[in-house]
């Protein structure tokens, strides 16, 4: 590729799923794009994530971005190669008791009112569609438009498409610093009018002031048990586990892989970058899974791993210009939803950079909100 000789219009730092998606949108918008990653594509948090493409309603803004993004994924689905393992399995939000079923009904209203198809299942209907779940459960909300995919496969595909549209990827290139109009790699400044910081949980290392912290999660994957689990199944309490920035929490969240394997989540911890298995947290997470799906107790686990969600204080990603430094844009801080929201993020960012009108209001995700919030508090 000769793209490096001519200085790029935009340098995207980070080839996780967010950086890969941004590179694709920017290249399609006609920019000369250079993507740099310290490792290779999809090797960061993206390699550790679950790949649930999910509409979530923790806040109005979260709903808007996730619903928009899931729609973009569904549009893309027919063109995804098998390595992306796209599976339109839908989500079941399960209600353990009558009170939670009430909450499921409210959730149903919220989703349908905003144009996202959803259906309330009673206990019997739930048992019929997921026979391995503990009985009796009160019911569930089925969101049929949700899906799952294999995140590193998807990141790799998006980056390959970006390169087909003219972008250039350089792996093994750690960016030491972002300067106005340039990035510094191995002591050399590479000029770029636009720099997109898509370094995930490491983004604050390059753009000091970004309020992103690593939020650790464990996952466990089983051997193959086709049919044991048919939808992504999440307990209603998951939202709370994700919302409250407590030191430690677990929630029942299981995912069927196309291979027949079951991916078991999820946990959240604030312990910095320590990747070691926390056996107490792992134990509680698995216990929660067995509590809802007793048959899992006998399922064989072949591997356990951890990953770091890039978490922000208000649970929303940072997408847009970083006005503290000329030419710097941010696409980071997607916490536990970055696989889902990568596509919406990339589209919004490209809209803002090229002056197109975004399909959803970008203001809630503007990175500068964190500074104004800090100034308000300070």
């Amino acid at each position: 590729m000769s793209g490096v000789a001519v200085p790029p219009d935009a340098v995207v730092v980070g080839a996780g799923i967010v950086g890969a998606a941004c590179a694709l949108e920017l290249a399609r918008a006609g920019l000369r794009v250079l993507v740099l990653d310290a490792g290779d594509v999809g090797g960061g948090t993206t390699a550790a994530g679950m790949g649930h493409l999910v509409v979530m309603d923790d806040s109005e803004e979260q709903f808007a971005l996730t619903a928009y993004s899931v729609r973009l994924w569904r549009e893309l689905a027919p063109s995804l190669p098998p390595e992306c393992e796209f599976d339109p399995c839908g989500t079941l939000w399960i209600a353990a008791d009558a009170a939670q079923l009430e909450a499921v009904r409210r959730k149903h209203e919220a989703y349908t009112a905003r144009g996202v198809a959803a259906e309330v299942l009673d206990g019997a209907a739930l048992a019929a569609c997921e026979p391995a779940l503990r009985a009796p459960l009160a019911g569930a909300l089925l969101v049929p438009g949700d899906a799952v995919l294999y995140p590193p496969g998807a990141a790799r595909h998006l980056l390959a498409e970006a390169c087909r549209a003219g972008a250039v990827f350089r792996g093994g290139s750690r960016v030491d610093a972002i300067r106005p109009g340039a990035v510094v790699v191995g002591g050399r400044a590479l000029p770029a009018g636009i720099v997109v910081n898509a370094a995930g949980a490491a983004a604050p290392e390059l753009t000091p002031g970004l309020p992103i912290v690593p939020r650790k999660g464990h996952l466990a994957i089983t051997d193959r048990y086709p049919g044991l689990c048919r939808h992504q199944i999440v307990e209603l309490g998951y939202l709370q586990s994700a919302h409250e920035m407590t030191a430690e929490s677990v929630a029942f969240n299981v995912q069927p892989r196309r291979t027949g394997q079951v991916l078991i989540g999820s946990s959240r911890e604030l312990v910095g970058w320590d990747p070691a298995t926390n056996r107490a947290v792992l134990g509680r997470m698995l216990e929660r899974a067995v509590h809802f799906m007793p048959a899992l107790a006998a399922a064989s686990v072949i591997r356990v791993w951890t990953g770091f969600r890039p978490a922000t204080p208000d649970k929303l990603p940072l997408i847009g210009p970083w006005e503290e430094m000329e030419g710097v844009w941010v696409a980071a801080g997607h916490e536990g939803l970055g696989i889902t929201t990568s596509l919406g993020t990339a589209r919004l960012l490209a809209d803002l950079i090229t002056g197109r009108t975004p399909a959803i209001d970008p203001a809630p995700y503007a990175p500068m909100r964190v500074l104004s919030a800090a100034r308000r508090h300070g």
Binding site: R156, G283, E287, S300, V301, R303, V304, W305
Partner: protein
Amino acid sequence: MAETAPRRVTADVAIVGAGPAGIAAAVRAAESGARVVVLDEAPRPGGQIWRHTTRGTLPRGARRWLERLDASGAQVLSGASVVDADGPRLLAQWRGEPLVVSAERIILATGARELFLPFPGWTLPGVVGVGGAQALLKAGMPVAGRRVVVAGSGPLLLAVAAALAGAGAHVAVVAEQAPAAAVRRFAAGLWRRPAKLWQAARYRAGVPRARHRPGVWVTRADGDTTVREVTLTDGRRTWTVPCDLLAVGYGLVPATELPRLLGCRIERGRVHVDEYQRTSEPAILCAGEPTGIAGAHAALVQGQIAACAALDRPAEATSLLAARDAWRRFAARLEATFAPRDELRTLADADTVVCRCEDVTLGRIDASWGSRAAKRYTRAGMGPCQGRICGAALQYLFDWTPDRVRVPVAPATVGTLVHAAALNTEPQDPS
């Protein structure tokens, strides 16, 4: 915390693996009065070499060790796989239930596994490992009248060829990839060694000299529902041999997952140990094949040394050190003689399956990736065997370093891992 506490065992010495190394360690420690527990995932003690259904068919020396183990007072838990470990504690799955073992000292004697190098046709039915063929023989597989090719590298080839011939198979050829000159030098050196492992003369008796072909290797296997013919080469000439069983293996690789999980230092694929089999981690010792491939006799000596050191009586091991050092030198020669030749790296073609669990072909893998990326992009090494088979082959083919070890080191049920935290807590009073 989990509602029901897992079963706990405490001991002075816990030993993982009941092959020759683990057995010798257990016998030595228990006979000196220590409380010893031995965990092995196999249904009965003996390890790779002594795992016969009936002890009657074992050599006398092996029977002696197994009888001493029975009488030693060591608690032997067969069918217990160790799935997680931290410090001197182990989490095992035994009879489907979690078991937490706490010990003053741990001796890791997890042995080795066979190295498979992929070539076109290696996944056909009728193609088995050399060790696999032997295991099948020990389990009573009928081979009388079958036409067999034995290929690959190392002393095991002749041992297995002899056993196959003894069971009535027709061994068409034993293809040893190591060059003839190297094999001759190795064999000559054996007369000056205490080595019993490779009793070349005796093994040869079962296989006529003319059929033992050093400097020859398999380039492909062909067949329909099963292997029908094997293509061999000596680098100049290529020819085919009809057969209905191909036993092929390129020697052994140390099983180091558990030592790595525990943080033990690894050097050139082996667990680094000091003079007394102590690893870099306090309270953790290692004996047998994880420290280097040297055979069952070496494993027996190392196991005894490890037991003495584990009981803080290293002086009692002094008389064994010279023998162990001789075995170390033997291991080095073994490795040098039977190192796989470079030509073996290029046998597999784009359609050859390299990861059997996930059905990944070589053509999908890029040499520049490394183990982690290969997993991520193709699932190679992600299946139930967790790279125990394809991992070593990919490392050899591409000079990759292994990916980090993760919990569990052997498949464990969700129900067992629920109790993982018990590894980090003191046993409760059973009141």
